[in-house]
Amino acid sequence: MKNFRFKSIWLLSESEQRARSESFSPKKTLLVGMNHTGKSSLIKSLFTALGAFPTGELDRWSKDATVLVEFSVDGVTHYVVQQHNHRGLFDAGGNLDFASANATDWGRRFSDLVGFNLVLTDQQLKSVTGDARTFFLPFYVNQDGSWLANWSTFANLKQYRNPVDSVIEYFTGVKPPIYYELNSQKLVRQKELAELRGEEKVIKNIKDRFGNTVQLNGPKTIPDVFDQDIARLTEEITALNVEQEQLRNTLVREKETAESLNLQVKMAEQALAHYDSDAAFLQTEPHEVLVCPVCHAEHDKTFMDILRYAEDARILRNLVVQLKDDSRKANDVLQKSKVRLRALDDRYSRISAILETRRGDLRLDDVVRAMGAESAFAAFDAELVELEAKIDPLVIAIDSLTARLGDLTSTKRSRDILSIFRTSYAAALQSLNMPPVETKGMKLTSRPKLSGSGGPRSILAYYAALWHTSLSEYGSFSMPVVIDSPQQQGQDAENLPVMIEYISKNLPENMQVILAVEAPTTCNFDKVIKFDEAYHLLKADQYSLIYEFMRPFTDSMYEALVGREDPGEDGPAS
């Protein structure tokens, strides 16, 4: 069972130049003081520092006050310093471990630190880990909300969907931390399994479709004597086929090019003949405006034009020479390709003739075809076997996780826990001078709705029953309990001492309890802290000492935050 304890608190207001520090007993601490002396402020500071902002206003509370809280988790001491939304986490030696200007980041870090792994759902139906508010929810009775019929201990709890049920089940052990751990392992494996199943489905589909296309009714038995020959011939004929295909493509391209070469040569020669007659005309006939005798186009007679015309002809003439050369080369290549293709064709028909040869009723190529289909099926099967080998252990792991989760959420377990709760509730009611009630149908979340003088007592009895249950063999956390002032409206003077006595005597021995009351009591508390000055929780005379003590914490925190890109307050006040 994990153990969380409040150890000390330091409060400091630089603007007021006042400060105060108090430490708490690991067992029972009493805070005594009249209204407005600062009991609630101190308690609220405790939770605010850790990231849980209680409901209710703080009277005349310095908004820029700095708070330092010392707490321990399983005996290991930590400090948290907080100002506004800035928080710094320190180890016992005062070394900064983490700093944050953001409520979400802090909430995550705090849950990690205390080992709080409750998974809740937010309003967008996303899974999120609970933070300090849900961590302290069942263990803090806030004078500004908790004494009523609903759970309004902390501000902004509505960001989660129905967090209370899950929180209570978590701490009482109905769904303990191990449940959430196992459940997350199960989710990971289920995701993995779903992917593998998908793959398996695809392969099975392909196999089925393939089976419909390729009939497996060919010869199934392969005569050993043909085995090797068939394999070799099949390989050879496949390779030949590929080669033939490539060569045919090449041949077609080569033939096309060769043909276009010849065609272009012919066309060019015609064009040149046309030019030649044109040029002869130009060289002999007088021409003011040149009219081509063939095409009747008018040629401007400037030398430049004649020269360009002659140049075009010269280029064409040379291109024709090169094309003829290309054509020779192309025809050579073409002939060679044809010879190669003939050789390939010969080999191909020789081999397919062998494959076609019948041996009794068994045609070799049938065997080859059947073999192809069979080997494809074999490949699919192998793939499926491989997938199966991955799927099986996952299924087993998920089953075992499901079984363990089932144990954790078994009816018997729930019944045992409920029984502890109901018994504790009945006992508490009795100790608190309350008439017995029918607890048989009571659920963990059956928060009482009594009004009048019995109201606060029944609420206390309900909380006490939760606390008892959380410390049973099924619980996981030993948490401190903070009760702010049982002296609620309607509470008669007679029963107030009963409640205080109940708190001092009847709560479990090893539970840390911090109780705030208005008047002194004769009941036994391990430590009593007095608050005597209205509106002056903080004291001027303690300022310099506490300032010196807190300063290294504050400095380290801001040093770390300022080093970041955005040290601003970007999260909601928590």
Partner: protein
């Protein structure tokens, strides 16, 4: 107006000196024009600062040493001969005089009438020369064939460098003088046999153009090697320009008419060479770029297909019938090349340029686009200097 040039125009009008042109066949004209081009380049190479060739004006060809203020005229009979050599008789229409030493032994030959010389090639040359008094004049008989005349010094005209008629043995020169005296006008300039030369040239009658191309190629190779490969087009174009000069036209009666109907000057030749400088040798560069692309990865078939496409483009050009696509693709090439540079490796720019074209002309053949791109890239990117 130059009196010297007027003298030439006057000579044109004189049926005795002007060349009728009717006596030439096609080959003869080709021979003349090619000889003229060879002569032009030789004059240019020898550093002449001006000239004006006149075709079919005064004899076959006449060359003035200036197109504006000439001081000298050279008159040429340019005759091809398919078989054998020129003989005394074919040059002069005169009988061959016996050498004085052999006179006693030989039987008396029948002498041709002396005035027959007027219709002979040399007779015509002398008649033309006779009409120039202001201009310093000289004449030449040019042919691919030599003359079987023995020189006074013992050599032979058939194998020698140009020789003056005055170098012939005296019994020939005496006879010629006597004959010419009977036909030339009394007002003519003084007859000087030393001013008329006989010259055999190497230009082959059957393929005069190829010979000329060789000469022009040699010249271009020396002064403008990037365009040497274009010698053929240049010569063909030059022949197209020279061809009509003097042919089948009415004789000029003014200096300007003479220049435009018969003349070709050094200035015109230089302008033509200037034109050539502006046209890159696409054939040479295309070949080179395709070789370069082959080195960078194009295979034989691809290169060949590009050549096929280029051939098609030029065939269409020669037919004067480019496709609408040819024009559009060319414009697109120009635009693309305007903003993209060609680096040391051709392939990257070739690939991206062609990819650009393929996106614009999806239905065109790849090789067609490649050919267009290369031709345009050469036109735009080759340094003509």
């Amino acid at each position: 107006m130059s009196t010297a040039l007027d003298e030439v125009v006057l000579a044109l009008a004189d049926p005795d000196t002007s060349e009728s042109g009717g006596a030439h066949n096609q080959k003869g004209i080709e021979f003349q024009k090619n000889w003229a081009i060879v002569k032009m380049f030789s004059l240019k190479e020898n550093g002449n600062i001006d000239f004006l060739f006149l075709f079919e004006a005064v004899q076959d060809v006449a060359i003035l040493n200036s197109s504006t203020v000439p001081t000298r005229i050279e008159i040429f009979q340019v005759k091809k001969k398919d078989r054998l050599e020129w003989t005394w008789a074919s040059l002069t229409n005169l009988h061959s005089p016996d050498a004085p030493s052999k006179k006693a032994k030989s039987k008396v030959k029948k002498a041709k009438p002396l005035d027959g010389v007027a219709d002979s090639p040399l007779g015509k040359l002398f008649a033309s020369l006779a009409s120039f008094k202001t201009l310093e004049s000289s004449g030449s008989f040019i042919s691919n064939a030599g003359c079987n005349l023995v020189l006074a010094s013992g050599g032979n005209v058939a194998t020698s460098l140009p020789v003056a008629l005055s170098e012939l043995p005296s019994h020939f020169t005496d006879l010629l003088r006597a004959a010419l005296d009977t036909v030339l006008k009394p007002s003519s300039a003084k007859l000087e046999l030393s001013k008329v030369m006989l010259e055999k040239v190497d230009i082959p009658v059957d393929d005069a153009q190829t010979y000329t191309i060789g000469i022009v190629h040699k010249y271009l190779d020396k002064v403008s090697p990037l365009h040497a490969g274009q010698a053929r087009s240049f010569v063909e174009s030059l022949l197209a320009k020279l061809g009509p000069l003097g042919a089948k036209t009415a004789k000029a009666t003014t200096i300007d008419e003479m220049r435009s109907r018969h003349g070709y000057s050094l200035g015109q030749l230089n302008a033509a060479l200037g034109n050539l400088q502006q046209i890159p040798d696409i054939e040479f560069h295309l070949k080179q770029w395709l070789e370069q692309l082959a080195k960078e990865g194009l295979v034989f078939w691809e290169v060949s297909q590009i050549r096929v496409a280029a051939t098609a483009i030029f065939s269409r050009k020669l037919f004067g019938a480019p496709l609408p696509d040819d024009v559009e693709i060319s414009i697109c090439c120009d635009a693309w090349l305007g903003v993209n540079n060609i680096g040391t490796n051709l392939m990257p720019v070739f690939d991206s340029g062609v990819a650009h074209l393929r996106a614009k002309f999806p239905s065109a053949k790849k090789a067609e686009l490649q050919a267009h791109f290369l031709l345009k890239a050469i036109e735009q990117c080759v340094d003509l200097s």
